[in-house]
């Protein structure tokens, strides 16, 4: 379904005259895994997008698959940050927390701003649940919530009453709690219910009773906001619409962006894709996304392990498809020997690394950027390959296409770095016009005349791609060093030097074939540049923006092509007096910038499994510029 929304400066027709206008709000829905918080969040996101706010969302699932009800480790949350200006992170602190039980309250309260609104379901605040959340006394009674505005509603009873006529039974009736809550929150932000009603009718098309009960709960929650005598200080928020480029939008998360980008890349290259992978958090969702797309020219293969996955992908590339594999850090480590084979055999391969917290099993469900040096340098031998990083969910589509282009044009593995945050977060995406993408069709070698497997394109230095099945081009390749002239095995010292140089120059030459580095925000020279890569984009962008509004001379540079770097990067960076590099690691890009360019870049590092907050970037910029002034 698509809806026609005209964005204007006018406020919504139903807006309360007394509505409190804010530029942006962070709302977090938190409840038990079984409370349907993800669905609530998704519906609220739909409404918010339709309303015309810019937004970013982030789901926070428990690592446990079926955690006991009421436990703190079983809390499932969905956060949405939306507003009238560009939103690029899922938000620092929570303005509105919806806590469906004590565990949800205790695990999220410390992130709520002072004076923030906390909505609690008093029906869930019984002794059993308080004990499970390890509360010694009831926080609703002991004054521990005095710093917040608290809206206490017995959602249990409200829901039971609202859906009584449908005779669902107690348990089923309570399942409508999330829709009641959503109704209340929609009222709070002056949002229309219609989209959610349509979603529910579609979702429960075969169970009209369930659909109607959920709709009744939604309406009841909304009506409660309109009619109940609410405590003072609780009123409708008005969040004005954002300016956005015209066109058709949808929500996109990073996983879907990469999956669709790979499909598009395959089409632009004219190749079938073999996507071979082994399940690992948080990368598995990419396998799921592509496994469900058999109508396209993609085959997915769940291998027996990480090594088999990358090897099958390499085999497919040898046979004339595009091999793609994906994993997280520990799995990439296992694939490393095979990736080196693809470098040596000069076959295209796309390796997606959805980074997570390390070392070892580390923090599987948390995000980190600590695999950059592994991606660039982490192989035996002198084994260069291009490395790219996506910076947001809506960036993923483009980056995946670019990875396919470079892999096939240069006959090389490409490492595409994403992370757990990007893969799960979602944001509105201006749906691209596929006609605008320049195709890059692969031309397989077919002429037996003078053929040998070491023939190279003189410009790109890419080796020839001759696929099995082509008459007259029978040849052997492998991991042993090959003669530059014939492609046959060669242990000749001068030849190894030449081949090593050629591999280096081929990958290095890609710097001529990628866009020059631009400045994401600010001037092309000045006092301070904040240089980032990957999912820190949002926080850096907002942080730099706020500091520029305060009149500080600071710019934001975000690097997509990390190996090789864009040709102009050194010159660009040399135009700033100071450079700081925020990273969710102990300093990896900063190390590369220092070693490649001999510049005095400084690290701003955080390795907590949590994304940077905007405030942390702002503080670092202010500290840097104040220090300089002193």
């Amino acid at each position: 379904m698509s809806a026609e929304i005209v964005r204007t400066a006018e406020s919504s027709t139903t807006a309360d005259a007394t509505a409190k206008t804010v530029e942006s709000v962070v709302v977090r829905f938190a409840g038990d895994s079984g409370d349907g918080m993800q669905l609530t969040g998704a519906n609220f996101t739909d409404n918010t997008a339709l309303y015309g706010n810019d937004l970013s969302t982030f789901p926070d699932f428990p690592a446990e698959i079926r955690a006991p009800a009421g436990s703190t480790f079983g809390v499932s949350a969905f956060q949405i940050y939306f507003g009238s200006e560009d939103i690029t992170t899922s938000g620092d602190a929570i303005d509105v927390l919806v806590a469906m039980n004590p565990a949800a309250l205790v695990t999220n309260l410390k992130e709520v701003v002072s004076g923030g609104l906390v909505i609690v379901d008093t029906g869930a605040f019984n002794e059993k649940n308080l004990n499970k959340a390890k509360y010694n006394s009831n926080p609703l009674l002991d004054g521990s919530l005095d710093a917040y505005r608290v809206l206490e509603v017995d959602i249990h009873n409200q829901v039971i009453a609202a859906v009584e006529e449908f005779n669902l039974g107690h348990k089923m009736a309570l399942r409508c709690k999330n829709m009641w809550t959503l109704g209340l929150v929609l009222w709070l932000f002056d949002r229309d219910k219609q989209t959610t009603i349509e979603n529910l009718q579609k979702k429960f098309a075969k169970k009209p009773d369930v659909a109607n009960a959920n709709i009744a709960a939604l309406n009841a929650g909304h009506a409660y906001g309109e009619t109940a005598e609410l405590p003072s200080g609780i009123e409708v928020y008005s969040v004005p619409k954002a300016q956005a480029a015209p066109g058709k939008y949808r929500d996109i998360d990073g996983t879907t962006g990469i999956a669709w980008g790979l499909l598009a890349g395959g089409q632009l290259a004219g190749l079938n894709i073999l996507f071979a992978s082994y399940p690992i958090t948080p990368a598995s969702s990419l396998l799921h996304a592509l496994a469900a797309r058999k109508e396209f020219d993609v085959t997915t293969f769940q291998a027996e392990d990480e090594i088999a996955a990358v090897c099958a992908a390499i085999g497919a590339s040898f046979a004339g498809s595009l091999g793609v594999t994906s994993s997280a850090g520990p799995g990439i480590a296992l694939k490393t020997e095979a990736i080196s084979l693809a470098v040596s055999a000069e076959l295209p391969l796309v390796v997606v690394n959805t980074q997570r917290g390390g070392p070892s099993t580390g923090l599987p469900t948390k995000t980190e950027q600590s695999d950059l040096l592994q991606a660039v340098y982490g192989r035996h031998g002198d084994t260069p390959l291009p490395v790219m990083a996506t910076s947001s969910p809506s960036d993923c589509f483009e980056v995946a296409i670019e990875a396919v282009r470079i892999a096939t044009k240069y006959m090389t593995p490409v490492m595409l770095l994403s992370d757990g945050y990007i893969s799960n977060a979602s944001e509105p995406w201006l749906i691209p016009d596929l006609e605008q993408y320049e195709p890059f069709p692969v031309e397989f070698h077919e002429n037996p005349e003078g053929f040998n497997p070491s023939l190279r394109d003189p410009e790109s230095l890419a080796r020839v791609w001759a696929k099995p099945g082509t008459p007259g081009l029978e040849h052997r390749i492998g991991g042993i060093e090959k003669s530059y002239e014939t492609g046959n095995i060669s242990y000749d010292p001068d030849n190894h030097q030449l081949m090593t140089d050629t591999r280096r120059d081929k990958v290095g030459g890609i710097s001529k074939d990628i866009p020059a580095q631009t400045v994401a925000l600010g001037n092309e020279s000045g006092k301070l540049a904040v240089v980032g890569w990957g999912s820190t984009f949002g926080a850096i962008h907002q942080g730099v923006k706020r500091c520029r509004q305060q009149g500080l001379d600071v710019s934001h540079i975000h690097i997509r092509h990390i190996w090789p770097f864009p040709k102009n990067l050194k010159e660009l960076l040399s135009g700033y007096d100071e450079i700081i590099v925020p990273e969710m690691n102990t300093g990896q890009l900063v190390k590369m910038l220092r070693s490649e360019f001999l510049i005095d870049a400084k690290g701003l590092n955080k390795v907590s499994g949590q994304p940077f907050k905007i405030g942390e970037i702002v503080n670092a910029i202010q500290a840097e510029l104040t220090e300089r002034a002193e």
């Binding site: 015209p246 058999k294 109508e295 390749i477």
Partner: protein, 338 residues
């Protein structure tokens, strides 16, 4: 196409690369057998792909004038799986050894077999690591003295064919490097089989494990230590077929019996290559008490991984015949900003 195929001969399948195995290596005989067999397969040369891992045997693809990929240690079945998935029209061969396929690559061998990817896996079993200079392998007999086991190896060997059957391989056979006729016939049958096929080739390493298969290779004594099984035929061996294999139905085990009259002949097991339990018993026969079984031990058709995958894809494509990337990008909830 066939016309061209008819004209091919051994030389057409020999590459211009100098063969670098040690003099007397059993691999020479295997290479020659396969080069001779190729023209008989009635398949275009460009459709043949040899994929190998690491080890002496894995140099094999360099000597075949076909497509070839010398990959990394143990991973040939995985690379070959990718080749077959990308282009099911190719004949994909995996050339591997006992270390490559059963030590470092044991996992991949098992999974290629149980998935039933249409690969022809040829395992050259010399019960030793040759290329790394003579360490014992997972098929070495207990007590094998090697640089890494100076007092003799203490871990028990595994039997490649037993492993293959256990992994669900639909075609399992065993042959011997220098028995060109037998080896050629077995490989030809494995090639004709649709699905994963596994052939163990007992191969002599003259440098590090010389004579390890002497009992089954020496014509003077082999009749007592080797039994050739043929589907539908009684399992007989020994001089003048004087011995046979019988199933003891009480212990569910095999016994060697002397065949001296029709009565004892009637008790001899008739080889049924579709009988998995029997194949497992035959594959496990070894040592001084039993002859080593060679020939096709097991052969039963199953649908292949690639054909099942193709059926799924066809079904999905029929249901979503109007699929396009554009419609995918516009699917679900979208909204217009003007």
């Amino acid at each position: 196409m066939n016309q061209a195929v008819d004209k091919l001969n051994v030389a057409d399948f020999s590459s211009d690369q100098e063969v670098r195995w040690c003099p007397g290596c059993g691999d020479y005989a295997i290479l020659k057998t396969i080069q001779k067999l190729m023209p008989e397969l009635d398949r275009p040369r460009e459709s043949q792909v040899f994929v190998s891992g690491i080890g002496c045997s894995s140099r094999f693809p360099y000597y075949m004038n076909t497509y070839g990929f010398h990959t990394i240690h143990g991973r040939a079945p995985s690379v070959a799986t990718g080749v077959k998935l990308a282009n099911p029209d190719l004949d994909v061969w995996v050339i591997t050894g006992d270390g490559d396929a059963l030590s470092i690559g044991g996992n991949h061998t098992m999974h290629a077999l149980r998935r039933n990817v249409d690969l022809n896996i040829l395992l050259f079993n010399n019960e030793i690591y040759g290329l790394t200079k003579g360490q014992y392998s997972p098929t070495s007999k207990v007590g094998t003295r090697s640089p890494s086991t100076p007092e003799g190896s203490i871990d028990r060997p595994l039997s490649p064919c037993v492993i293959a059957l256990g992994a669900g391989a639909p075609f399992v056979a065993r042959s011997i490097d220098t028995e060109m006729k037998h080896l050629g016939a077995v490989i030809k049958e494995s090639h004709a089989h649709e699905g994963a096929s596994f052939v163990e080739i007992l191969q002599n390493c003259p440098i590090y494990n010389d004579g390890i298969f002497e009992q089954v290779k020496n014509k003077k004594i082999a009749h007592d230590f080797k039994v050739e099984v043929t589907h539908g035929q009684p399992i007989l061996f020994g001089k003048d077929n004087s011995k046979g294999i019988r199933l003891n139905r009480d212990t569910l085990s095999l016994e060697v019996v002397t065949v001296n009259d029709q009565g004892s002949m009637n008790e001899i097991l008739v080889h049924d290559q579709t009988n998995l339990a029997q194949a497992q018993l035959l594959a496990a026969m070894q040592g001084n008490d039993f002859p080593v079984a060679v020939g096709v031990l097991y052969h039963k058709a199953k649908s292949t991984y690639v054909s099942d995958l193709g059926e799924q894809r066809i079904a999905v494509k029929e249901n979503r015949s109007d699929a396009s990337l554009r419609s995918l990008l516009h699917s679900g909830h979208t909204w217009e900003v003007k």
